[in-house]
C-alpha cells in the first residue's frame, strides 16, 4: 500500500505558488511622488505536478516567469506563497533536485579545473568518503556525459559550448539527483550540438530514471523532450496539457499564437501577416486576463476578471473564458 503510493506519488508538486519581487522605487521617491510600493508578481498562483520519470516543460516568451519557476523549484528563490514539495526517491529520502543552466559560458567557473567543478558537489555534500573515490566518480561522470577522463585537468575555456554543457550536466549529476531542472539548456547551442545534448539528456533520463522540469522558449525542442507542457504568459500558466494534445489542439489563444508564429521548416507559413502587439510589461500587467489586449477573440469580461485554470479534457487545463465556454458548449452538446 505504502510502496504503491510511493510509486505513484509525483516527483514534484507545485501548488498555488507565487513569487513577488519588490521593485519599488526607493523610499524617498515613493514618498515624494506619492507612489505606492511596486511589486511584480513574476509567478502568480501556479500549480502543477511532475510525475516521476516524465519531462514536464514550461514554455513562454522572455519575461513570462518560467526561469523564476526553475529557481523557485531549486530553492534559489524562496516562494512568496504556496508550497513546493518533492516526492520520495529511490532511497526513501526526499527527491534531490539539481539544475542545468542556460549559458555554458557563465555556468562554469573559468578559474576552476573541470575535475574540481564536477567534484565540488561531491565534496560539499560529502558523497564519497575519500579523495580517490571522488576522483573515480568524477571520471565516471565525465565518461557518462561523453567526455574523456583526462578532461578533468583542463579548464572550461578549452571546451566548445556543447562540451561545456556536458560538463554542466556531469556536475548536476554528481550530487545524485532524481529531478533535474533544465533552464533553457540548449538555447545557447547550435542546432547540431543541441541534438547531441538533447539525445544525451534523453539517454540519461532512461538510464538513470531522471525526472525533468524543462524550461524553454523553443516549441520544437519542447515537443521533442516533454510529456507534459505548460504555457506561461505573464506569470501565469494559461494552458497545460499533454504534449500531443497541446500541439494538435491548442485551446488558449496565446498557445495558438505561439504555434502560429514559430517558424516551421517543414510548412513555412510565408506571407502570413503576423499578429501585431508585444507582450505587456510585467510591471504594469493588463487587468483581467493579461492576454486580452492582444487576443483576437477577447470578450468584454476578459478585461475585468482573470479566468482560472480549468480542466478542458482528461489531462488538459486552460485559463480562458472563450475556450472554457466553447468547451462547456461542446460538453453540453455531447451531453445533450
Amino acid at each position: 500500500m505504502n510502496e504503491l503510493q510511493q510509486e505513484t506519488a509525483p516527483a514534484l508538486s507545485v501548488s498555488h505558488v507565487s513569487k513577488v519581487f519588490d521593485v519599488s522605487a526607493p523610499w524617498l521617491n515613493r514618498v515624494l511622488e506619492r507612489r505606492p510600493k511596486l511589486f511584480v508578481e513574476a509567478v502568480s498562483d501556479i500549480s502543477f505536478t511532475v510525475e516521476k520519470g516524465t519531462c514536464f516543460s514550461i514554455v513562454g516568451e522572455s519575461g513570462c516567469g518560467k526561469s523564476t519557476v526553475a529557481r523557485l523549484v531549486t530553492g534559489l528563490y524562496a516562494t512568496s506563497n504556496g508550497d513546493i514539495s518533492f516526492g520520495t526517491g529511490a532511497t526513501g529520502r526526499p527527491i534531490k533536485v539539481q539544475m542545468i543552466f542556460q549559458d555554458p559560458h557563465s555556468s562554469l567557473n573559468p578559474r576552476w579545473r573541470v575535475g574540481d567543478i564536477i567534484a565540488e558537489p561531491i565534496r560539499e555534500m560529502k558523497l564519497r568518503n575519500s579523495e580517490d573515490e571522488t576522483l573515480a566518480r568524477v571520471r565516471e561522470l565525465l565518461e557518462t556525459v561523453g567526455l574523456g577522463a583526462d578532461d578533468a585537468l583542463k579548464y572550461p575555456h578549452e571546451f566548445s559550448g556543447g562540451q561545456r554543457q556536458r560538463i554542466s550536466i556531469a556536475r548536476a549529476l554528481a550530487s545524485e539527483p532524481e529531478l533535474l531542472v533544465c533552464d533553457e539548456p540548449t538555447s545557447a547551442l547550435d542546432v547540431s550540438v543541441q541534438a547531441q545534448i538533447l539525445n544525451l539528456m534523453r539517454r540519461l533520463q532512461d538510464e538513470l530514471g531522471l525526472t525533468y522540469l524543462f524550461i524553454s522558449h523553443d516549441l520544437s525542442v519542447v515537443r521533442h523532450m516533454s510529456t507534459h507542457i505548460a504555457v506561461m504568459y505573464l506569470g501565469r500558466i494559461v494552458e497545460q496539457a499533454p504534449v500531443e494534445e497541446l500541439f494538435t489542439n491548442p485551446q488558449h489563444p496565446y498557445s495558438k499564437l505561439l504555434l502560429a508564429t514559430i517558424p516551421d521548416i517543414e510548412n513555412p507559413k510565408r506571407r502570413v501577416e503576423a499578429q501585431a502587439g508585444e507582450p505587456p510589461s510585467p510591471l504594469n500587467p493588463p487587468s483581467g486576463c493579461a492576454f486580452h489586449p492582444r487576443c483576437p477573440v477577447a470578450l468584454s469580461k476578459c478585461s475585468q476578471s482573470a479566468p482560472d485554470l480549468c480542466p478542458t479534457s482528461a489531462h488538459g487545463k486552460v485559463a480562458c473564458f472563450v475556450a472554457q465556454d466553447a468547451n462547456n458548449t461542446a460538453m453540453e452538446k455531447a451531453a445533450v
Partner: protein, 337 residues
Amino acid sequence: MMVQPIPVPEDSINATPALDVQGLSVEFPTRRGVLKAIDDVSMQIAPGEILGVVGESGAGKSITGLAVLGLLEHPGRIAQGAIHVGGRRVDTLTEAELTKVRGREMGAIFQDPLTALNPLFTVGKQLVETIRLHTGMSKTEAEGRALELLRSVGIPAPEERLRQYPHQFSGGMRQRVVIALALAAGPRLIIADEPTTALDVSIQAQITALLRKLCDETGVGIMLVTHDMGVIAETADRVCVMYSGRVVESGPVGDVIHNPQHPYTKGLMAAIPSLHDRVEVLSQIDGSMPRLNARPSGCAFHPRCPHAGPKCSAQKPLLQKVGTTSAACWLQQGGTQ
C-alpha cells in the same frame, strides 16, 4: 503603405545582381598564424531577393556580411575575391569611397537593436542625418521622408516617435527603426545580421514579415544572416549553408530544406526537432565545428562526416550544381575515393 524607392536608372535594376561575391577570402593574422575566417566564398543576390546565409556560430556568416560592408574589424582583411554591389566593385574602394557607398548602396541591420542606435540623439535626428547625407535633401524634405519611412516599417504615430529617443522604444519597435535607418537612402542591398535573434518569438515573426514585405515592395536585395533554419524557411528565397568559413551548399530554400545534398546540411536538417513528429532519438552530428585555426584538410567536414572517404581529407571539394542546388561534396561529385 509602400516606400517610394529612390529612382535608380531603369536598366540597372534587373540586369545586375544586388550583390555579387566571387571567391571571397577573409584572413585574420594572429600570433599563431593567419586565420582564414572565410575561404573562397561566392554568392549572388538578385534585386528583390532574400538570400539566407545560415550556419553555426563560427561558420563565418557574419564575417561575410561585414566584409561586404567593408566593416571587418582590425586586423581582419579581405585576402582574395571580389565584391560587387549593384554592379559596382566595393572591396577595392578606399575608406572614404566606401563611406559614400555604405548607406547609399547598401544598408545594414544588426542583431541587437538596443545598442545599435545612438542613445543621445532622437530617432528623427538619426534618420534625417542619414537621409540628408545620401540624398542631399533639405531638412524638411528629409523629415518628410523620415516620417514616411517610419510609417512604412509599421511604427504607429510616427510624428511623435520622431522626437523620441531610442530608449523610449520597445525592442521590436527599435528594430523597426533600425530597419528604417537601413532603408533611409534606398539601398540596393541590406545585410541583415541575425535581425531577429534578440527578439521574442511573436515579435520575430513580425520583423521577418516586415523584411519580406519591404523586399517585395522596394526591390532591395537582402542578405539574411542567421543561425535559425526556421527563420530562413519562413523568409528567404534562396539559402547558402556555411560551414567552417566555406559555403557547403546553396540553392532555393525549399529544395535545400527538403532535399539537402551535402552531408552536413542533411545532418543539420535532421538534427532539428520536428514540430510535427516525435522521434525517440534525434539524428545528430557528432563532434563540433573545428576552430578556424585547426580547419581539417580537404573537406572541412570530413572528420564528422559518416560518408567520408580518402579523397575528402585530401582535396577540397568545390561547389557544384546538383539538381536545383549546388553542393561542395565529393559524394555528389563522383565519389569519395
